[in-house]
Assembly symmetry: C3
Homo-oligomer: 340 residues x 3
Amino acid sequence: MQELAEACGGEVVGEPRTRIHGVGTLEHAVTGELTFLTNSLYRDQLQGTRASAVILGPEDRDATQLPRIVSANPYACYALVAQRLFPLPEVVPGIHPSAVIDPAAQVSHEASIGPHTTVGSGAIIGPGVVIGPGCSVGERVVLEAGARLYPRVVIYPDCRIGPRSILHAGVVIGADGFGMARGAEGWIKIPQVGRVIIGADVEIGANTTVDRGAIEDTVIEDGVKLDNQIQIAHNCRVGAHTVIAGCTGISGSTRIGRNCRIGGGVGMVGHLEICDGVTVSGFSLITKSITRPGVYTSSIPSQPHRQWMETLANLRALPQWTQKLKMLEAQLKKNSKEEE
Amino acid sequence: MQELAEACGGEVVGEPRTRIHGVGTLEHAVTGELTFLTNSLYRDQLQGTRASAVILGPEDRDATQLPRIVSANPYACYALVAQRLFPLPEVVPGIHPSAVIDPAAQVSHEASIGPHTTVGSGAIIGPGVVIGPGCSVGERVVLEAGARLYPRVVIYPDCRIGPRSILHAGVVIGADGFGMARGAEGWIKIPQVGRVIIGADVEIGANTTVDRGAIEDTVIEDGVKLDNQIQIAHNCRVGAHTVIAGCTGISGSTRIGRNCRIGGGVGMVGHLEICDGVTVSGFSLITKSITRPGVYTSSIPSQPHRQWMETLANLRALPQWTQKLKMLEAQLKKNSKEEE
Amino acid sequence: MQELAEACGGEVVGEPRTRIHGVGTLEHAVTGELTFLTNSLYRDQLQGTRASAVILGPEDRDATQLPRIVSANPYACYALVAQRLFPLPEVVPGIHPSAVIDPAAQVSHEASIGPHTTVGSGAIIGPGVVIGPGCSVGERVVLEAGARLYPRVVIYPDCRIGPRSILHAGVVIGADGFGMARGAEGWIKIPQVGRVIIGADVEIGANTTVDRGAIEDTVIEDGVKLDNQIQIAHNCRVGAHTVIAGCTGISGSTRIGRNCRIGGGVGMVGHLEICDGVTVSGFSLITKSITRPGVYTSSIPSQPHRQWMETLANLRALPQWTQKLKMLEAQLKKNSKEEE
């Protein structure tokens, strides 16, 4: 346990040689597993846990007799300890014989390329890069050191993926943005000649798509985390360390600041500027630029159907009600005057 | 037709030797095709149909002279008859030479594995399993008997797919859940060490994603049907025979009961408990646990733009109006008193 | 520049031999690049541009001294000029040796098929078709002349893709629609025996899905443009030249007219008829058929969280308020009568 505590700079209280081989929740951990308490609300569960050790904050230091790691940020400590316990499989360098690598691509001899993957001409694959089976890496794509592509990732030509960034299965980077002009006989496609530039330590969830810029680049800055099924349209910029939850769609040319937290199922219209430190509640719609940090919301929680239908009918009738209210107000004023 | 009727236990009325080779709608079916009437509202269309036979309920038994199959559940009867008419292509066992199967995987000699598919070490592929082209089956994945993967499905290591379950193209099972802790310099990834466990007779639509658990497993129980483009986050559980329509997102650790019907474009926040038998209307948001079966809704149907803009302006002005209403009420009370 | 102007039938004003090798925005273009002004609002930026030439409308003809192309539709002109400047890579006919082509497929000798792609029995691949790496083209699929599939596209059996249509990475065409009947012991799958028929000059964005019809076909007409992450359910028809933005979901059997503009994150319930020329605002829900062209909306823009919570509380209280309003009204009437 001592060694694990060092992973996060935590303090060991109790037997430092406690053997830990896995992790578990407070409720379900068993002997040999480490658990964590990040919210004093769950202190009760701590009493019943069968875990062999626990990570907790200084305020809960004496809430258990178990061997423990005390950390000012127990959740971050857990993250680092779990990384130590469950290291990624070691990179076995080499190119699977079924992969199709263009002779004009540069592949580090410390990179690993899986079966049925294609790498286009002029691509540069850095050391420690892992490309899973069935990926398509376009011409002149750059994958920096330690980038990791899970199976079936597609990267269109000319895009760049920063060091240590992780792209999950089904991600598509650099497809054409949705750009067209109306001509006399239909829509005319506007060539999308920008790229997608992804920074360091970014993680992108399964089946998320990030479109290439129309003229300039779409940019995902360092440390951004995107969940699954997200759509980032052309020319967007997502600021460093911003996180976006699943199923959210960001329309073209919108720029999101740093350290924002965007909920799931959110929509943003195009051409907005969202400042740093903005939180958007899940299922909300952003239609204007935001210049002040804070929480923004427009979502409506469900009600039992009939109740909601009544609310909805009243909502639709609002223009009439406010009209009626104005009339009542006027009448009351008139009555008052008459009485005077 | 007799043989088809047996597929669903229906009663044949009229010529049992009527030859049927296909299916059609009441409106467009032609000679040799079977159609169905599941709603007496469409009884009029029955008169004009050119179908050679029809499936219908006992209440419509005499509504046509056509050869017919009478069933208490005509829609289910149609489903079974159509399955008989359009059987899945027979499984041709064998492994395509371009597939890359780890020597430590166990593949049933009654399974079929398509071109450019990879199967990892320790995976177990049961009899009657069909894996389409370009799939990626991770280490130690178990595909039980008769499971069917359409092209380009990705299953991350250690997940299980139950017997006869169907995964459509582009599905990703077991990608990392969206888990991270905030550290001093950015987000720290929390290893996602749970699995995805999928039961029997589940069907999952194209490009849907189900994330692996953070610590424990994400579970999709028997008979669940998921439409396309759905996101199921880590640690969720979806109860048996629940159906979820397209584009819906379920946040982490939410547990949905059995026999629920979740509409399309729905959102659910995390850590909820939804009881059995709940229906959620499309485009609604669930933010609290639900303990009673019934229909829950928060969606707003569109209006012509100007009308909606007026409603919306009134909605935003509500706090002022309710203020004003209170004042009127108070004034009226005061007036009444003065008169006394 | 003269040659570029001819691409769009524009008039050259200034030096026709100006050399252009790229495009840029008004703000960031540099020497050798062409820019465009499509909105007189940005005329100020025109003064500072370092572009070598500009496309603009007749009303802005004299707003700059730069060499320029004057066009009645400057945006469409830009589109055509950019297509001239950035032609698609030439099709290099041939079949990559790692592709698996069924002997009973017909592949034009002018088509190009990438690595690790499979083409099923009876498929017909027209001249000028380009299929990227890792695609799966099912049995009897028809790809008409000049169709283009980016990597990892899946087309299920029997579907048709019209001439010059473009399918981006991760698109899935023809997966089973979400059809099932409730039986005594769970859901019974209804075989989906229709096809997907896609017209000419259609473009479909990354990871979008279009399901095959249950009995008849799902149809995407000529010139339709679908953005990323869209779900089109079974039996839908999308009329010619309609555009749909990202993350939108269309439920089964809904028919959308021609020249509609559907925003992002929109939902439509099933079995609707939407007439030609309808615009739906982003994030809106359509629950009824629409018979008049125009703009339809139900989306609510976000507010600061507390403000929205107050609005929401008032919304929920509406039934009570309208009740109260009715009582006030009645009382006022009573008062008036008493005074008489």
